[in-house]
Amino acid sequence: MNGSLHLWLIPLLPFAGFLLNGILGSRLPKWLITTIALLAPLAAFGVVLSAAQGLFTTGVLGSFPYVETCPVGWINAGTLHVDFSLVLDQLSLVMLLVVTGVGFLIHVYSVGYMGDEEGYARYFSFLNLFLFFMTLLVLAGNALLMFVGWEGVGLASYLLIGFYFHKDSAANAGKKAFIVNRIGDFGFLIGMFLLLANFGTLTFSEIATKLGQDPSWQGGILTVIALCLLLGATGKSAQLPLYIWLPDAMEGPTPVSALIHAATMVTAGVYMIARTHVLFDHSPFALGTVAVIGASTALFAATIGLVQNDIKRVLAYSTISQLGYMFLGCGVAAYSAAIFHLMTHAFFKALLFLAAGSVIHGMGGEQDLRKMGGLWKKLPVTFWTMTAAVFAIAGFFPFAGFFSKDAILYAAFLQGTNGKILWFVGLVTALLTSFYMFRLWYMAFLGKPRSPEVHPHESPWTMLGPLVILAALSVGGGWIGIERFSEFLAPSTGARAAAAGTGHLELILSCVAVLVALEGWLIADKLYRRKLDRPAQWAAALPGSYNLLAHKYYVDEFYGASVVKPLFAFSHYLLDWVVDKGLLGGTAWLLGGTVTFAGAILQRWQSGNLRSYAAWLAAGAAAVLLFVVVPWASFLATLSTIHFNVAGH
């Protein structure tokens, strides 16, 4: 390798953008804010590209992983050593390309989307801050540095969800996201402590080396560590049972939903599992838990997505569902398939959100699918790009989603009987996914306009450009194929599970998946194009199921009653009334009251009358004199002697 790759520039460039726009933003002209905000991710993307290009052209892939360590250590305490070390390997390279590439496109889109908003500089400084933490998370060579990025993206997510902080719902959604993520972060922290206690290091490569030396080490504490890390991942990646924050996170601006809550941040959990996959590989139980959580989340969120009417909420549940696929992929040890799906999902889900944003923008802020319709004529570019994304997520050949989803389902199918069940759940989810995506497609773009008073307009080219690029990626992003992708990733995620099946089996499964997707399309076509009154009839015929779905299985209500209410009551009655107001407030009141009371009495001495002062002075002098002259000591001694004598009798 010739020279350094300057990995440190990748996080620090967006950080510089954050500082410039964050501190000076309110005084800079708009064009300068835009330039700074766009240059930061573009330059970071350039550094990633040059690193990738340098590695490919010089043919030094074997020298992966490439490590860059800050000469000044971070923590040196006894046996604990933590460095600022950045690691570039196949896994982080793929992730970086997605984060900075899609991130840059969304920055460009934001210029058009947020153009008229207040807090333009604030918005872009937060977006750059997010990129800083996200690239730090991806590049981190040890768990602690990853945790810094992990918490940082949570902070950026909180700031951006609550971007419209004057709206109560947005502020509350931000808090909800932050607090729910704290639960997951707690698991991550405990996992790190256990890693430190059992391995004495937090560096990923050293952990892998130690595990490699002892291949018989299975389960036990490794299962506990893996489950703790999994808890962290379910928080960040919105899996059961901690998924509840993601639908509410849609309160943020739509490009934020695209970047943070669809394409990059929420995939951090998947990335983390892939990064620490050696731990999971040594614990079949933890791996099985990952797969079950993934599959059940995928199905669960997809069913909720069926009946949502807010365009962004449909996409939010779809994101949760797709993240479930990635967890399923991780859970069957097909990490490369999971990362593959992560990448294609980043393309088409970012596109879906950005196109939805374009629709919302064109409709003047309307998000309700029931008020849209017939938009394809008014928003042609948005329509066609959205179509590409819908076909990609539904899993039609040859769109990107087909290849990655297929790889995950195939890997699941090969995992014995339980794997077949997981595969079947995944297949049902694919059917539901196809159905609700085409439902959205029909309701928003086809049919007759349902709000004739609104005159939608196509978005500016700063918004359409990213749409077109992402559409191209959604179509062609999967053509690399899972074989080559796995081969590329193999050094960092381990070789793909030995294919026990045959080529025929894979082909048959693919055909089944495509047929299922087609079936979903046909059902949506029937219900939302040809027989428009059917959905309402069905909803009326099955009020129980419909309400259950429309209220998202009452999970929020359940958590509210079982966790939030008791906690709130505990805080309100015990902590607030008894401890805060009673104990602390009472003590303060008592101390203050005593002093005030004493002061009220003593202030009478301060009469301002010179002679009264003098009289007190004289009285004091007389008292001292009395004390010195009268032999108190012997007097007291005499007294006690008498007492003693009395007692002696």
Partner: protein, 107 residues
């Protein structure tokens, strides 16, 4: 005559006189309303103290007490100068010398 004068005056007499002077000063300080009288009472207290200094110095053949008396007299002279100036200033400002009327130090 000779016997009368050769007889030493007992120490306690001096001290009693000193205490009487000092007490007169204190009482005067406390009960008089006129600022100038109060001021004179202070001088009386100082002189009462001076007398006891001299008495003890003579009794113990120590010159320190006498030196101290000179210091006190010097300070008293300076104090008289400054104090009288203040009294004049107060009188000009308040047109009275009654101590109970000069109560600006009250909260």
């Amino acid at each position: 005559m000779n016997t009368l004068f050769s007889q030493e005056v007992p120490l306690s007499w001096y001290l009693l006189l000193s205490a009487a002077l000092f007490t007169l000063g204190v009482v005067g300080f406390l009960i008089k309303r006129n600022l100038i009288t109060v001021f004179m009472s202070i001088e009386l207290m100082l002189n009462g103290v001076n007398l006891s200094f001299v008495t003890f110095a003579y009794q113990w053949h120590a010159v320190k007490g006498q030196i101290f008396v000179f210091f006190v007299m010097m300070v008293a002279a300076a104090e008289a100068a400054v104090g009288l100036a203040i009294i004049i200033a107060v009188f000009r400002a308040r047109a009275t010398l009654a101590v109970d009327r000069i109560d600006l130090m009250k909260l």
